[in-house]
Structure formats: C-alpha cells, structure tokens
C-alpha cells in the first residue's frame, strides 16, 4: 500500500479492522517519514518511537484475533505538549517545566487510547500555549510544511504542521484564543474548537480556566468528527465539563446543506480587521459555493472583533497570571521573551477589569445566541492573512492578532477552521464555521459540504 502517510484516520481504521493494513506497517511508515521530515519541521518535542512500535504490535495482535479496541484501532496520533501522556514529560515547550513527568494520561489521551489510537509523541507548541513562534526556548519552533520559511500558526503548531505534512493523520491541540484553529488555518487542515465543556481538560496544563478547550486536528472533516467522537464526554472531575449528552458527530456529514441558513459575519473581515484581498475573495467564494449547494446566506452582525479580543485578553491574561505569577516572580528568566511579556500582563490588570470583561462576556454570549436563532451556522474569517515568514518578528507581531477566532472562546460556541483555498504564494487561506452549543454535527455538515465542493481534503503541501 503506497502513500500510507496520506491515509485518512477513517480509511486506516477501516483497513486495519479488515486486516488489510498492519498497524505496525502504518506506524513504521509514519516514523520513517518523521525521521525524514521532522528535522525541517520541528513538529516534535519528543518522539516516543519505542512505545509507539510496542503499541502498534499489540494493536496488530489484537486485530488479528478480531479484538478491536474502538474506531481508532491502530491509528497513530500526536499530542500537543501541554497534554499529559503517562511516563513522558509535559514540558509546555518551556524551560520552566523541563523536569515535569506526567504520571497519568490526560482524559482526552486516555479516551484516544481506549478507542485504539497509538501515541507517537509530544508536539511543539508556543510556550505554555501563548505568545508566538520563539527562538529562545529549549526547542525550536515548528515550521509550516507548505513553506518552511513560514510559521505554521499556533499555539498547537506541531499539531498543525505534523498533520498537514503527513507525519500523523490526527493530533490533539488546545484552543484558548484560537490555538487549534490558527494552525489549522495556516497549514490547511481541519481544526475544531468544540463547545466549551464537551471535552475534558483534566490532565491538560491550563492557560485560562474559562477559555481553554481541547480539540481535534485532522486532514478531513470526517476524521475530525471521528476523533471528536472518541474524546467527547462528561468528566465529573473537570469542573468545567458539561453534563450534556454526547452527540453523533458524523450523523449529518453527507446529508448536504439544502435549506440550511448560513449567517455570514462579513464585518469581521471587511470592517473590524480588513483582511488580505485573497482571504476576502476566498470567503466570498465559500459563501457562493454554499449557496449553490442550496444553503441560504444571510448577513449577520455581532459585536466588533476589537471588543471580543479585549474581553478575551483580559480574561485570559488575568487567569493565566493566577497560574504563572509565582514562577514569574521567582524565575522570570526561565521564560522566553514572548511568553514572559504575555503572561506578566495579568499582573497589571485589576479585579475591576476582570469583572468588566466577565459581565460583558455574558452579553456577548446572548448576542451570538440571538444570531444562532436566526441561522443554523455562522460563516466568518479565521485568519485575515496567509502565514508570514517565521523569522519576520515584526510581521508575526502584526498579523497574529488579525483573526476572528477569539469571539468563540469568549462565548464557548463550537468553531471549526479549515482551508478556503491557496494564496498566490502557495499558502493556505482559511474559513471558519461556528455552530450552536453542542451542535458540532451541523458544523461538520457544512464543513463537509465545502470540503466536497473544493476538494480541500485532497490538497497536500509540496513537501516530499
């Protein structure tokens, strides 16, 4: 079987279940590709090849005897390094946590293993999932497989880079201000921030308690739904976990979108933060294509991106300061410059700032809820620009905040980013779909309709 590295999660799992593919062959093929490409991409902080091969052998033995652990049996996965994997350090890509050893799997990792997935190792992130690509940390920043001179987005940068490059077909990321959807946008893959509370955060190093989400990152919409199915569910020991029943996330994937109402939030990219012309053109193309497929497109107005961003930042930096304050007091030199600057900001915010943001947050939730009573799904920008060169710090600083992801961390609605097309320079541009609480199935339905029209699941970076 050729091109194992471009196999989808779904295809690999089906082939393994049918005994047409060996988990050992698949894992070995991916580890070989990692050995070949990761020196250019830096997606990994730690490759756990021995444990992965042992798990693959066990999966193969089980598959031969007809015992499948679940729908991901024998399929490799990468884990962002703020998420605990038992027996491996959770460094958060920081000198501060170099020696931290995880004694148990995070709940999301435990669930993936329970579904049969094979953990390949720990993936690069921005330090403590904040800041940007940095060159003053213990490991280099991940790079974009579409052009390794460019950044892959973040903070789940290794997850985005590795999925797009075919190092693994799925990865876990986390999203507090857009950190699953940014790398999904930059690397041209599918990244979902689920409804707040749908996926347990237990065993994930926190950045901001009320904004943190764990999300699946894959090359196809169907794989994303499959991965979400494995990791979603109530966790009574996570205080933010929702008691809502788990959905059937792939239920509507190929139902089409005739009659669905799609709210286009144009002011995000036309007025609030004017997008690069190629992004604007791509978003209009997505809207027209959905209309051709039978959806009704309506204009929707929400609070401004600037205000959403301010609310997100006050809450995020205040909550993050409550975690990092002691370390920043005692060992500020152990942080990289960007992380230090972002995390110390919370020291200068007042209780009044935090309460103002929290009270406005409830109003913003009400405004998005009102919009989602008028339409079934929202369509809007994700990133306003293609990824810039990673070593152009001024351009990274300028373009990183030019995005429309933070609104849905503030409100907790499910939001999916995926490829909308390729720029003239050959880099992905992106689109975002947002749904009602716990209605990931409809988000996937619309995303799949766009994927089918545009063939985004067939577009891979030119890297080998």
């Amino acid at each position: 079987m050729s091109d194992l590295h471009w196999m989808t999660v779904d295809a690999a799992a089906r082939a393994i279940a049918a005994r047409e593919l060996s988990p050992v062959d698949l894992t070995k093929a991916l580890l070989d590709r990692i050995e070949q490409l990761d020196p250019k991409l830096n997606a990994f902080i730690r490759i756990d090849d021995e444990a992965a091969m042992a798990a693959a052998l066990a999966a193969e033995t089980e598959a031969r005897s007809g015992r499948l652990r679940g729908p991901l049996h024998g399929v490799p996965v990468g884990i962002k390094d703020i998420i605990d994997v038992a027996g491996l350090p959770t460094t958060c890509h920081s000198k501060v946590r170099l020696d931290h050893m995880a004694t148990a799997d995070a709940v999301c990792v435990e669930k993936l293993r329970g579904a049969g997935a094979i953990v390949l190792g720990k993936l690069s992130t921005h330090e403590f999932a904040i800041g940007g690509p940095s060159f003053d940390l213990p490991w280099p920043p991940a790079r974009n497989p579409w052009n390794t001179d460019h950044h892959p987005g973040g903070s789940s940068s290794g997850s985005g880079s590795g999925v797009a490059a075919g190092l693994f077909p799925m990865a876990l990321g986390t999203d507090t201000g857009g950190s699953v959807r940014n790398p999904a946008s930059c690397c041209g893959i599918v990244g979902l921030k689920p409804t707040y509370g749908l996926v347990s955060r237990r065993g994930v190093f926190p950045l901001s308690f009320t904004l943190d989400h764990v999300g699946p990152m894959t090359r196809t919409v169907a794989d994303n739904a499959l991965m979400l199915q494995a990791i979603a569910g109530h966790d009574p020991l996570d205080p933010g976990s929702a008691a809502a029943a788990q959905g059937h996330y792939a239920a509507a994937l190929d139902r089409g979108i005739r009659g669905l109402r799609v709210g286009f939030v144009r002011h995000f990219h036309e007025i609030d933060t004017p997008a690069h012309p190629e992004v604007t053109a791509a978003l209009e193309h997505v809207a027209r294509s959905l209309q051709v497929e039978g959806a009704e497109i309506r204009n929707i107005t929400l609070p401004s991106l600037g205000e959403f961003g301010a609310v997100n930042r006050v809450i995020l930096q205040s909550e993050a300061w409550s975690i990092h304050g002691p370390w920043l007091s005692e060992r500020p030199g152990d942080y990289g410059k960007l992380g230090r600057q972002r995390l110390m900001a919370g020291a200068f915010m007042s209780a009044g700032d935090y309460m103002l943001a929290s009270r406005r947050r409830l109003q913003m939730i009400a405004e998005v809820e009102a919009a989602l009573r008028e339409v079934d799904v929202l369509l809007c920008a994700s990133s306003m620009d293609p990824a810039c060169r990673i070593e152009d710090t001024a351009e990274v600083e300028r373009t990183y905040p030019r995005q429309a992801r933070t609104p849905f961390n503030v409100t907790g609605h499910p939001a999916l980013a995926m490829m909308a097309g390729l720029s003239v320079g050959g880099l992905p541009v992106s689109v975002q779909f947002v749904g009602r609480y716990f209605d990931e199935a409809t988000v996937f339905q619309v995303a799949r309709a766009w994927e089918r029209v545009a063939g985004t699941d067939k577009k891979h970076p030119p890297i080998v």
Partner: protein
C-alpha cells in the same frame, strides 16, 4: 501608564526580579494591560451578571 506606576504595580505583584532583569518586558506587559480594558463596553445595566455564574450542585 507611567514608569513610576509600572514599577509600583510590578513590585506589588512580586515582579521585582523581572523588573531588574527584564525592564523592557515588564513595560510591554503593562502597556498591553493598560490598553485593553478601555475597548470593552461597560454594561449600562447595574444588575448585569458576569459569566460564568456561580452554580451549585451541577459539577463535582
């Protein structure tokens, strides 16, 4: 936020070492914080509640 205010707030927050070793980073952090809250509309209704609310008996 002026330099003296930044220093007072930084020391109060326990950032004396950061102030000594990374004064520019402390100043950048203070500027980020100072700029941001002004962009948020203040609720005009004095009874407007924050999110998330206190809820008993629903978790843990």
């Amino acid at each position: 936020m002026d330099k003296d205010t930044i220093e007072i707030l930084a020391r109060h927050a326990g950032l004396a070492r950061a102030l000594a070793d990374f004064p520019e980073d402390v100043a950048v952090s203070a500027k980020q914080a100072a700029d941001v809250a002004h962009k948020i509309k203040r609720p005009t209704d004095p009874t407007a509640e924050p999110w998330p609310p206190m809820k008993t008996g629903t978790t843990l």
